[in-house]
């Protein structure tokens, strides 16, 4: 008799596309072979996890089409099955997986679009927290700005791409103009995903602005963070980046560090 743990391991392998013969003689046949019965479970796992991925990566699904998405999802599910039952957390390495596929060589933006969708998904499910507004900072003496440090809002996610992924993402949302055209030569985009209220929003930053945001999100003081960015980009002016970040709700709290 197969111990329960061994049975479950053999059925996991069968559900994920592996050998079913180990279960011959274990499954009651009774009109259907063990492979026919196990195929129902393989189908359940494949179809339901593909649906979960398609729900998270809606734009990728639309861009590559149903058939290709299903084929890729099947391979991904078998190589990277979920490690916990909360499926809104499933797919964090799907963008990297897409980047590894030679079939997508002609679509170099696809993995970055997936990264944006994953960032959106994480922002959507992130914890509630206060949103730091410009008026919260009104009491800070401008002479002390260099000492400001921020805690990022739990929803804040940063995504950078050599392609205009925000436009690609936007024109492929439900209800968007189907005939819209995105020029891939429009250039790189560096984005912050935020959720200031109930809605997830995508903000555009400059490339050095994104670097500044990374430093600030890691808790660096504003003065240090700006200096570090200016080492690489001497004429970088943080004002517009800070306006976008604070206006968009990227931070939760601030403190003055002496």
């Amino acid at each position: 008799m197969l111990p329960l743990a061994d049975l479950q391991s053999a059925m996991r392998d069968a559900a994920l596309g592996g050998d079913m013969d180990r279960l011959s003689g274990v499954i009651v046949e009774d009109g259907f072979s063990h492979t026919e019965r196990l195929s129902i479970h393989r189908g359940n796992t494949t179809i339901l996890l593909t649906e979960a991925l398609a729900a998270t990566f809606k734009v990728v699904h639309k861009l590559v089409g149903e058939d290709f998405f299903e084929a890729v999802a099947r391979l991904y599910i078998r190589a990277h099955p979920p490690r916990n039952p909360c499926l809104f957390e499933y797919g964090h390495d799907f963008p990297t997986y897409l980047a590894s596929l030679p079939q997508l060589d002609g679509f170099p933006y696809m993995a970055d679009v997936a990264r944006l969708e994953w960032g959106w998904n994480e922002a959507f499910h992130a914890a509630e927290a206060p949103v730091l507004s410009a008026s919260d900072l009104a009491a800070v003496d401008p002479d002390d700005y260099a000492q400001l440090a921020f805690t990022p809002h739990p929803a804040l996610r940063l995504v950078a791409s050599p392609y205009p992924i925000k436009e690609i993402w936007a024109v492929n949302q439900c209800g968007a103009d189907d005939d819209a055209i995105v020029d891939l030569d429009e250039g790189a985009q560096t984005l912050a995903v935020v959720r200031p209220k109930a809605q997830v929003e995508v903000l555009e930053l400059s490339e050095p602005g994104l670097t500044l945001t990374e430093y600030l999100a890691a808790g660096e003081r504003l003065g240090n963070a700006v200096e570090r960015v200016q080492t690489a980009v001497p004429d970088f002016d943080p004002a517009s980046t800070l306006a976008v970040l604070i206006g968009g709700g990227a931070f939760s709290t601030h403190i003055l560090q002496s």
């Binding site: 009651v28 979920p82 909360c86 809104f88 499910h125």
Partner: protein, 311 residues
């Protein structure tokens, strides 16, 4: 069977049969949040709502806020699909903690799970989640594993849970305990209640050739805290049909008959209309719920049934 399992768990309360109204409820779908909140008092046919616990185990965000808003208007039941109580080895402690946190947050009327497994331990010491509810072999080993996990879940929550009979597409040569007996033994050892899914009984009875009425007759009224109804589909392999429990269509007439039979025998019990794929308009779900409500309203409590039978 070890002696410490002979009686029900002493610290837990009664089967939560009274914490939901003995009316029809519906499975809450994201597509319907807004409409339910906007229509509000206009929707009298929603007695209560049920959600899949795993969909709301996020740290925050709009979904949890919708659920919290709906919890203020309707009793809410948490139905888990991922605890995998039938998996050999320890339960996922992190997942159990997330369930406890959610249960506290929504003040759930019921907490339920399935008599099945969906996670297989992997070589890395974690588990692979198959997103499927797979039947167990009904053996003494499975019984020990399953009862231990139900007890662990109940201890963590500090309350009784309901365990749902599965729909199944396969059986194992080494199964030695009939499913209803296994389920009743789980209830006896752990003190849990039963979530009786009438559609699952119908689906499994068809797939394995047993008598659905005979199965239902073995389930005592005092253990059943909730009933589930759903639609299923049919797949034909080599000219033979196998029923698939996909919750993607209306409840079929044969299952309604089985439900009437069940309610006549057990008395009115909170009944959920489940619909998880090809989600229809809210009014379609409400129509199914109204149908269940009519059957519930016509039912006598079990005492009266017994009285009539004795008299």
């Amino acid at each position: 069977m070890s002696s410490q399992h002979q009686s029900a768990h002493p610290v837990l309360g009664p089967i939560p049969a009274n914490s939901l109204p003995a009316r029809a409820g519906i499975g809450l779908k994201a597509q319907h949040y807004q409409e339910i909140l906007e229509r509000g008092a206009d929707i009298r046919s929603i007695g209560w709502l049920e959600v899949h616990s795993e969909n709301y185990m996020c740290a925050g965000g709009p979904q949890l806020n919708w659920l919290t808003a709906l919890c203020e208007r309707y009793p809410v039941s948490l139905h888990g699909v991922g605890m995998s109580l039938g998996t050999a080895g320890p339960l996922d402690a992190k997942h159990l903690k997330r369930l406890v946190d959610l249960e506290r947050r929504v003040e759930a009327s019921h907490v339920s799970e399935h008599l099945s497994w969906s996670i297989a331990k992997n070589a890395q010491g974690g588990g692979d989640y198959l997103n499927d509810l797979i039947a167990l072999p009904y053996t003494e080993e499975s019984l020990d594993v399953f009862c231990g996990h139900v007890e662990e879940m109940q201890d963590a929550l500090g309350r009784r849970v309901l365990i749902e009979n599965p729909s199944s597409y396969l059986r194992y040569e080494h199964s030695v305990i009939p499913e209803p007996e296994f389920l009743l033994e789980v209830a006896k050892r752990s003190g849990c209640g039963i979530l009786l899914d009438v559609n699952n009984v119908y689906v499994s009875a068809h797939n394995h050739g047993f008598d659905a009425h005979a199965y239902l007759d073995q389930i005592p009224a005092d253990l059943v805290g909730e009933i589930h109804l759903a639609g299923h589909s049919q797949t034909v392999i080599d000219g033979r049909a196998i029923l698939i429990d996909d919750h993607g269509s209306p409840v079929i007439d044969d299952v309604w008959s089985l439900y009437e039979y069940t309610i006549a025998r057990l008395g009115p019990i909170p009944t959920l209309i489940e619909w998880d794929s090809n989600i229809p308009d809210l009014d379609v779900l409400l129509g199914e719920a109204a149908k269940a409500d009519r059957i519930l309203a016509a039912a006598h409590p079990p005492e009266e049934v017994r009285h009539v039978a004795v008299g």
